[in-house]
């Protein structure tokens, strides 16, 4: 599994994990993110159960695993958080921040010790060891209970499935040519995102943010101008119900 430090600030760092060549062939490649301070860490969309050992092995290059005090799940899908039962055994002191809507469902993955902190529909602000993260509503993008995470200092937006595609393990870490990248994300957005209204609401919400990097849970990261290009493109395409996908 590749480990890339995508941000290094005064008080915290962002590390992206992905492109796991050891993962079983038929499961989709995923990006996991660790935000760490000198004392604590939060894992964003920690990944599926199949990736647990690779993730654990990768994380301990950066911090002791018991310093991971928080987990975040953007929504309920298995590639996002089916590893929860194993994290529950590993960091039983941690808190899982996830949509309130999915609590009863996510607990099926195994959540005996970890504390479930339900994020309300309107989102919330979370503080950890001096840093602040905003849980931004992204409902129906694609899940009916869904959040993005914004870091105002690093100017990074973790967008979950928004901006993602059914990418391969050898895809580049960053989008190099946005227009060449479109074919790998177009059908994904048209099919997975169910609502035009939800799409516009999310775009409007994130356009107000100052974003340097938009980090999806699959595929390549959008940086600089490519963030605006992606938002413009997403606004321009029709998604969801009623759309015929060839």
């Amino acid at each position: 599994m590749k480990k890339v430090k995508i941000y290094e600030g005064l008080h915290h760092e962002w590390i992206m994990f992905g492109r796991d060549v050891e993962k079983p062939e038929k499961i989709i490649d995923t990006n996991q993110y660790l935000i760490k301070t000198s004392r604590e860490g939060i894992l964003l969309d920690p990944g599926g159960i199949e990736l647990f050992s690779s993730m654990l092995a990768a994380i301990v290059h950066f911090m002791p695993v018991d310093q991971i005090t928080h987990l975040f799940a953007s929504h309920q899908d298995p590639d996002i958080i089916s590893s929860l039962g194993l994290w529950d055994k590993t960091i039983s002191h941690a808190t899982l921040h996830a949509p309130w809507l999915w609590e009863g469902f996510l607990r099926h993955y195994g959540c005996d010790s970890i504390t479930y902190a339900a994020i309300p529909d309107e989102g919330s602000i979370f503080k950890m060891d001096g840093i602040e993260l905003h849980f931004i509503p992204a409902h129906y993008m694609h899940s009916s209970g869904n959040f993005s995470v914004y870091d105002p200092v690093a100017k990074i937006l973790f967008s979950g499935d928004i901006g993602a595609g059914l990418n391969k393990v050898d895809d580049p870490m960053f989008v190099e040519d946005f227009y060449a990248h479109i074919p790998s994300i177009k059908k994904f957005h048209q099919r997975w995102m169910p609502s035009e209204r939800a799409k516009f609401a999310w775009i409007e919400r994130v356009r107000r943010l100052d974003i340097d990097m938009l980090c999806p849970q699959h595929g390549s990261i959008y940086k600089g101008e490519n963030v605006t290009r992606f938002l413009d493109w997403l606004e321009s395409i029709e998604v969801g119900i009623g759309l015929r996908i060839d």
Partner: protein
């Protein structure tokens, strides 16, 4: 001896299979109970001439009652086994994941930071396996107990036949019919229990 994942999975399914088959045993035990009640009524009606049949009918009632109780206990144990084997399977998966992570993080600065959860997972797994072993042993004993009782029922059947031959001809056919049904029910129970034991192919470990 530890069970590997595959045999543990199979074992979990087998325990459920035993539980499913026990409904047949329960049905036969209820048949015995019914026949025992019929026999009791008959003994009461026939009076002094069939008094030797009374202990036999009492035994039939006791046997059916005990069998129903044993089946309930077996069902509980089978459920415990299913739960324990599933927990052990999950525990075994966790241990294997930690071992894999350990192998892949040899060079990592904080590679030893998950030693404690890894140790705990192994400890839990050992405990789950002990539980599984205990429940399995108990299931084995319960099945054996039913089988032993059904062997005893064979003896009672023979005695009952002899007694039935001596009662008044008015009641003889009725008693013989009751004994016949008792014999069939006991034989069916024994066959099902033997099948259950065969399915389990119980291991001692």
């Amino acid at each position: 001896m530890e069970l590997n994942d595959e045999s543990r999975t199979t074992f979990f399914i087998r325990a459920v299979g035993v539980s499913a088959r026990l409904s047949a045993v329960l049905k036969e035990a209820k048949n015995i109970s019914l026949e025992a009640m019929n026999a009791k009524a008959l003994v009461a009606r026939a009076g002094e001439s069939v008094r030797t049949f009374k202990p036999i009918t009492d035994y039939m009632v006791e046997l059916s009652y005990d069998t129903i109780k044993l089946v309930e206990e077996i069902n509980t144990e089978a459920l415990n086994i299913s739960k324990s084997s599933l927990t052990a399977m999950r525990g075994s998966y966790a241990v294997s994941q930690y071992k894999k992570a350990k192998e892949n993080s040899k060079e990592a600065l904080y590679g030893d930071s998950f030693d404690k959860p890894m140790f705990n997972a192994q400890k839990d797994l050992d405990e789950f396996q002990k539980n599984l072993s205990r429940h399995t042993q108990r299931l084995h004993e319960l099945l054996q107990e039913i089988e032993t009782r059904m062997l005893a029922a064979n003896v009672v059947t023979s005695t009952s036949r002899l007694e039935a031959a001596t009662v008044s001809s008015v009641y003889q056919a009725n008693f013989e019919a009751i004994v016949g049904k008792f014999e069939v029910a006991a034989k069916n129970i024994r066959a099902t229990v033997m099948e259950c034991r065969k399915i389990l192919k119980l291991r001692r470990y």
